[in-house]
């Protein structure tokens, strides 16, 4: 993150959830509908408080479940309102059909999803699996690294979702249990600065909205060619959102003095031979370890993904081209693929990387800490790959049992594992 001196600021020590709630308040939504779920609950508590104190002039709908929450904000959004909701894990799954419908209706909803392991195995712990479960829903996905970025990304999400050229719902992700409850110093913007930042939207043509007495309706059947036309428009808007997000990041810096580099953030990448690709709160730890490794003369850098959908392939290829080895750290699994989701997707662009080799690290699943030692292991392994040594394609860093090669086991225990 690049910061330049600002003439004024107000630093508050708040959690990631509070940062999300304050960002929602600053964006002045017309309708908020949400249902509490760990680890997102604090967002709704804070917004309820703002609403009760008269600090937030919005319609607050305390729905009976997440499915209603998403349907309520989708409808309010189609009626022309600015909306906010937040959820996590099981809640996201419970609203899944409405998540798809919101994207199909091109309703510019902004939702915060506090990452938590998804249904399958009951787990009250962090992980990006819920994000992966809605990966192909047609939403734009942004991922925050720290509490400051949570606040900043929610504001940027409104500019992106409601932009006349985009009109795609945006989900802002951050790691539950880490950022959700972690208190950090956050520079809370002044209301007039946020109003100025968002005022660009008021100068744009008005998007289509439900109007009483009008015969225009949303949710039409799209049959055959009509369906294709809508899907093609949606895919095109997703592509356009890459350049738009970069532009929004620049405009954000002009007003607030903070820039993250747009779609991806590059940390000590210029002369790096070896690169880790990560996202979310793990990046703080990775940056610390990189500084340490740099002191030891190892040229290592970090590519942090801020945008996951659309997949910022052009920016990533540009940044990673010619690097000797790349280790992709995934906090989620891709069932049926050996490596993590980001790894498998980056792998599709391997031929454009001028010979860079890629390996996958799975770590941080269900709150298994991505520790300094774990990151050191990842960097060392990626360095080994760069040096031409034979390394595993996929490493479950916190699960050594998965790393034991079959060759060392007796025949009866050989399972053909990773």
């Amino acid at each position: 993150m690049n910061t330049k001196a600002k003439d004024r600021s107000q630093i508050k020590v708040i959690t990631g959830n509070a940062a999300a709630a304050i960002a929602a308040k600053l964006a002045r939504p017309d309708v908020v509908a949400a249902y509490p779920i760990t680890p997102q609950t604090e967002i709704i508590e804070q917004i309820s408080k703002f609403h009760a104190n008269g600090e937030m002039d919005c319609e607050l709908i305390t729905v009976e479940g997440e499915n209603s929450a998403m349907n309520a904000v989708m409808a309010a959004s189609l009626a022309g309102g600015r909306v906010f909701t937040a959820t996590s894990s099981w809640g996201l799954v419970f609203m899944y059909d409405a998540v798809l419908a919101t994207a199909g209706a091109r309703a510019p909803v902004v939702m915060v999803n506090v990452n938590r392991e998804t249904p399958g195995i009951i787990a009250v712990s962090s992980g990006q699996q819920d994000m992966i479960s809605t990966r192909d829903a047609g939403w734009i996905f942004l991922i925050a690294e720290d509490c400051q970025e949570v606040l900043d990304l929610v504001l940027q999400a409104y500019r992106l979702a409601e932009d006349y050229d985009i009109q795609v719902p945006v989900m802002v992700h951050y790691d539950g249990f880490y950022l959700s409850y972690l208190s950090e110093g956050v520079d809370v913007p002044f209301q007039e600065d946020v109003d100025k930042f968002l005022s660009v939207l008021n100068e744009q043509p008005e998007r289509t909205k439900l109007t009483p007495g009008s015969k225009l309706g949303c949710g039409s059947h799209g049959i055959l060619d009509g369906y294709l036309e809508l899907r093609y428009k949606h895919v095109s808007a997703m592509e356009r959102s890459k350049a738009k997000f970069k532009q929004i990041d620049n405009e954000f810096q002009e007003i607030f003095g903070r820039s993250y580099g747009g779609l991806i953030e590059e940390y000590r990448m210029d002369d790096a031979d070896v690169v880790l690709v990560g996202s979310g709160s793990m990046c703080g730890t990775i940056k610390t370890v990189i500084d340490k490794k740099r002191e030891a003369g190892i040229k290592v850098g970090l590519l942090k993904m801020r945008m996951y959908r659309p997949f910022p392939s052009e920016a990533m290829v540009k940044a990673l081209k010619g690097k000797k080895a790349i280790g992709v750290v995934d906090r989620s699994l891709c069932f049926g693929f050996k490596g993590g989701p980001i790894y498998t997707e980056l792998k599709a662009f391997e031929t454009q990387l001028d010979g860079s080799k890629i390996i996958s690290f799975i770590d941080g699943i269900a709150n298994t800490d991505i520790t300094i030692a774990n990151v050191e292991t990842m960097i060392d392994t990626t360095c080994d790959l760069a040096a031409g040594k034979d390394v595993r394609e996929v490493t479950w860093v916190s699960y050594p049992e998965a790393q034991e090669p079959d060759s060392k086991k007796p025949d009866s225990e050989k399972r053909g594992g990773l």
């Binding site: 199909g104 209706a105 091109r106 309703a107 009109q167 998007r207 289509t208 015969k215 225009l216 309706g217 949303c218 949710g219 039409s220 059947h221 799209g222 049959i223 060619d225 009509g226 036309e229 809508l230 093609y232 428009k233 095109s236 808007a237």
Partner: protein, 95 residues
């Protein structure tokens, strides 16, 4: 930029007059309800039970289905107290 052949707007917005707003659900019907006017006692049971409300009143004497949308489920025929509705194969009506 993509074309706006079917939809003038970015999303699936359309005018209520636009045929895209609804599917002709009658397209996939295999049997058609045929109402015998003389047996029909105009009780309206068929209209009440019809899951997609296609039974229309005709001349205040009997009911008749809107065949653009009738899916041919046969519930009207089953519920009719005077057995005035019979389900006839769609092939009988096609030339």
């Amino acid at each position: 930029m993509s074309s706006n052949k079917y939809f003038k707007h970015e999303g699936p917005w359309s005018d209520a007059n636009d045929p895209l707003m609804c599917s002709d659900t009658g397209d996939w019907r295999s049997k058609r309800p045929v109402v015998d006017k003389d047996t029909c006692i105009f009780c309206g049971f068929c209209a009440i039970y019809c899951p997609i409300q296609v039974m229309e009143m005709v001349e205040n004497s009997h009911f008749s289905p809107d065949l653009d949308f009738c899916k041919g489920c046969g519930i009207c025929a089953k519920e009719c107290p005077t057995k005035a509705i019979s389900m006839k194969p769609e092939g009988d009506f096609k030339k």
